[in-house]
Structure formats: structure tokens, C-alpha cells
């Protein structure tokens, strides 16, 4: 197997106030992968990426980027790394072109090489026309794209994006997805992203790790994770409003509003049985869809399970004499 793009072993981070943000996590991301790191707020996603990018100091553990141990030669490892942080971190008063050219300069890229690269990236991301304007004049979505262009200036083999589409409208989000897919597919760039939009992770990523309370609770492929999904909730839009909730043998049914039903479907159950039961009762279905994105349902279940386990463990510890 090829050297992983990112390998993390026993990564621990304890902040000055004693908070254990990371509790010895292990993680491998293979070259060429499109990988999602998911978790609720405060789970340790950004801390993990912060340590990988050298913005946060680790307390213990090892990190290798394309086989380069960051404790031995972080400078060389950084050449392979492009970072798009969660918050805007450029000088808002600088020109767009100056921001990307300066970043290339920090990596030692000569201007003769940096200029055409900047032209291409800003062009691809729809920012070339804005190059001579101050960055603060850009819209939120444009600022996010500027950070992507900046991160790609030195041709990194591993691109890390911390919630890249937060606050971005749907159309722009889709175009950013397409761009990220393209560089992953055509240029072989390994991509790791954190996101709160699980639809984003399901749509883009091949593999996923779920982190909660500073521990990786699952690390598998998106496909494998979805096959483990036991229950899905389907919404049925009806032709006419109902006065009472219909009974469907073997299914849990709730009335969302007059003309909409929510039906829990367990693995092995058939949707045809629902349609048949509704048909027998003279109820006409106009359309049907998942209540939530499937990965989201899985994620919520796992995180709730993890929180419940933690609460039980805490209660047990407290009850101990």
C-alpha cells in the first residue's frame, strides 16, 4: 500500500485550562482520497486539523504527511499541505492578487511562476476580475474561494478544508463541490474536509471518520457506513389532508401536518408494503423523500449513542463509593 497522505498516531492535545481536546487519536488518509472528518461542535475536528497544519501545538503523538515525520522535518512536509481554514485569515485590506502572490512567495515560488498560476486559479474560481480589488470588498463566498485559490498556489498534494462551505449559498456550494471534485479527480489532490453539512460529506467523500469528545468513534467508507443504517425516515406527501393517523402494520407512523406523514422504515422492511397499506385505505401519495440525509441520520444516532455512553460512564463513576 502506498504511503498515506496523512498518518496520525496517538495524537493528544490538552489545552492550558486542562481541557482534553484530543485523546490519542489514530487516523490514516490514503493518497488521492476525498475524506470527511465529521463531528459535533467542540468534538476535536478543528484541533486535529490545526495540529496537522502547525497552528496548534500537540501535547503528544506523531504526524506524518506523505511519509514525512513532522517532528523531524515539518518544513518539507508543509510543501505538500494546503490549508483552507474555517475563518477568513487574510489581510482584508490587501488586493486579491497580492494575497495569492504573497502566499506563493512564502513557499519560495518565483514570481514568473506564481503569476500564471494565480491567473489560472483565480480564473477557475471566478475571481480574476476582482484581482485588483481589496479583499474586504468580496462577498463571503468569494472570500472562501480566495482562500481555496491561496491554498492551492504552491500545488499541494494534500488539501485540508475546515468547513469550506459554511455560510455559502446553495448554488455557490455546488460549484465549489464541483471544483473540489475536479482537482481530486484530475490532479489527484488528496482532500480532507470537515463539514456540518452531511449531505456534503455524502456527496463528495469516499471515506469518513467521526470524532466525538476527542476520540475517533468510526473510521470507514461512506458506503460501508450507509449500509449500517438501520432506520430511515421517509416523508410522504399526500393528495388530501387526513383527519387521523393511518395504521400501517409493522411501521411507526407520525402525522407531520394534515397532508404529510413520516414513516420509520427499518432495514429489511419494504416501501411497497407502505404504498399498499395506504392504497387500501384510499390514501393517495403524491411524492416521497427521505426526511434527512442518510448520513446525517447515521451521524446523529452515533453521536447520541456516544453521548449516552459517556453520561452512563460518568454516572457510574459518581456512584462509586
Amino acid at each position: 500500500m502506498a504511503t498515506p497522505a496523512l498518518s496520525i498516531r496517538g495524537l493528544t492535545k490538552v489545552y492550558g485550562n486542562g481541557f482534553h481536546a484530543l485523546k490519542g487519536i489514530d487516523l490514516d488518509v490514503q493518497q488521492g482520497d476525498f475524506f470527511a472528518l465529521l463531528g459535533p461542535n467542540g468534538a476535536g475536528k478543528s484541533t486535529t486539523l490545526g495540529v496537522v497544519c502547525s497552528l496548534v501545538q500537540k501535547s503528544a503523538g506523531q504526524i506524518s504527511i506523505f511519509g514525512i515525520d513532522t517532528d523531524r522535518d515539518f518544513a518539507r512536509a508543509k510543501y505538500h499541505l494546503g490549508v483552507v481554514p474555517q475563518e477568513f485569515n487574510f489581510n482584508q485590506f490587501e488586493k486579491v492578487i497580492d494575497i495569492v502572490l504573497a502566499q506563493a512567495g512564502y513557499y519560495g515560488m518565483p514570481r514568473s511562476e506564481a503569476l500564471p498560476r494565480a491567473k489560472r486559479l483565480l480564473g477557475d474560481l471566478g475571481l480574476w476580475d476582482k484581482r485588483d480589488g481589496s479583499a474586504r470588498m468580496l462577498s463571503g463566498g468569494m472570500k472562501r474561494r480566495l482562500m481555496i485559490a491561496r491554498a492551492l498556489m504552491h500545488r499541494p498534494k494534500l488539501l485540508i478544508l475546515d468547513e469550506p462551505t459554511a455560510g455559502v449559498d446553495i448554488e455557490l456550494r455546488r460549484s465549489m463541490w464541483e471544483y473540489l471534485r475536479r482537482i481530486n479527480r484530475e490532479e489527484g489532490t488528496t482532500i480532507i474536509l470537515t463539514t456540518h453539512y452531511l449531505e456534503e460529506a455524502e456527496s463528495l467523500c469516499r471515506n469518513v471518520a467521526i470524532i466525538n469528545h476527542g476520540e475517533i468513534i468510526r473510521n470507514t467508507s461512506v458506503r460501508a457506513l450507509l449500509t449500517e443504517l438501520d432506520t430511515e425516515t421517509f416523508l410522504f406527501d399526500l393528495a388530501a389532508p387526513l383527519e387521523a393517523v393511518p395504521h400501517i402494520e409493522g411501521f411507526e407512523v407520525q402525522q407531520v401536518d394534515g397532508a404529510q406523514l413520516a414513516v420509520m422504515v427499518h432495514r429489511g422492511q419494504r416501501l411497497n408494503d407502505i404504498f399498499a397499506a395506504l392504497g387500501e385505505q384510499g390514501i393517495e401519495v403524491v411524492s416521497m423523500r427521505n426526511r434527512a440525509n442518510r448520513l446525517e441520520e447515521m451521524f446523529v444516532t452515533m453521536v447520541e449513542q456516544g453521548n449516552a455512553d459517556l453520561a452512563r460512564a460518568a454516572a457510574a463513576a459518581e456512584a462509586r463509593p
Partner: protein, 257 residues
Amino acid sequence: MSPTQIAIALWTLVHKEIKRFTRIWPQTLLPPSITMTMYFIIFGNLIGSRIGDMDGFSYMDFIVPGLIMMAVITNSYSNVASSFFSNKFQRSIEEMMVSPMPNWVILTGFVLGGMARGLGVGLIVTIVSLFFTRISMAHPILTIVVVVLTSALFSIGGFINALLADKFDDISIVPTFILTPLTYLGGVFYSISMLPALWQGVSMLNPILYMVNVFRYGFLGVSDIPVVWALSAIVAFIVVLFGIALWMLEHGKGIRS
């Protein structure tokens, strides 16, 4: 990084810093020019003409080197302090931290940027002074060496201040309450030989006195204190403060959680 890549990274940072303070020239270059012109008019011309000679020179000739040095010190310091803290505040310092640029290049880049502004303002003040007096330099090479070293020293000081600062107030405390009083008491406007023995001794503890005096020696050929001492003190301060600043960067003090 190869030496060529380091040179490119360093130039990128210095160029960016120069571009920053020239872009906002009404805040960075114009005010010191106006302030110093006021000093020349009020202290040099109006009051100075009644004071008479100082150490054998006209009062205007005596204060010119001190005022140039004062401008260099305050501008070198405040340029790095405000620029680096602004990078911290806007988090654009992360652009440099995620890059392979060594810490000494980051430090040197900001220091050179501060020196560019400090020496630039020093040059402007020198040109302004030509409207009031004729400048002659007794020791031109020494003058240049001293002003460059002093500018470097206070640029490093500004860098450390910015590393330690958590809010904008923190970068104005040192210039307002330490740097300015020390500069005024550093023999810019008077010779310490005018002071009683006790205060002469106290003045000798002020590092800025050495810089102003050795700089004045470069212009006029007279100094209150031995030139070799002064030069040695400046170089020693530079080495120590550069070491401290680099250590702080390496350990992420003030920039990494």
C-alpha cells in the same frame, strides 16, 4: 528551503511590509515629518535661538541628530508592533505559519520592514532639517552604522511587543510609557553634562542615551559617552533581543495555542 527559496520568501515579506506602510503613508510617513518640522521650528528656531550654544554647537545643530534618531526609533518600533499585531489580530499570520518559511525569516522580514520605515522616516526628517540648518557629518560611516543598528534593535523590540500583545492597547503602552520618556530623557534636547552628578548617573542607565550620543558623535564629533561602549551595547541588545524573539516564535508564544 533552498537559499533561493529563502531569499524569495524573505523578499516577499519585506516587499509586503514596505507596501503596507507606503499604502497608508498619511498615517505612517506624514505625521512624523510634520511633528519633526514643529520641533525644528519651535525648539530649534524660536526657543533655540535664545538658549545659545550646546557643547559648542548651535542648539539647532545639537538637536538635529537627536530628533532624527527619535523618529527612527519610534517608527521602527511602531511599524513592526502594529504590523505584526495586525497580522495576529486578522489571523493572516497563519499564512506564514502554515508555510515552510523558517521562523528566523519571518522575524527578519518584519524587522527589515520596520527598518525600512524607520530609516525612511529618518531620511525624510533629515531632508526637512536641511531647511533649517546645514548638516555636516564628522563620521559618516559610523553615523549610518549606528542608525541602522538602532533601527534594527527597536524593530526587534516592536516584534516582541506584538508577540506578547493580546489587544491593540498592549502595543501602545510601551511606546507611550517607556519609549517616549526614555527618548526625551536620552539627551535629544540637552547634554547630560548639564545635569547634576546624580542624574548623570541615572541617565547612564538609559540605553537610548547611548544611541543618541553616538549618533550625534557621527554628525558633530562630540559625545557624552565613549563611542565603543555605545556601539557594543547596541550590538549586545540586538543579539539578546533577536534570540528572545526567535525563541518565542519557535515556541509559538502568543501565536499558537
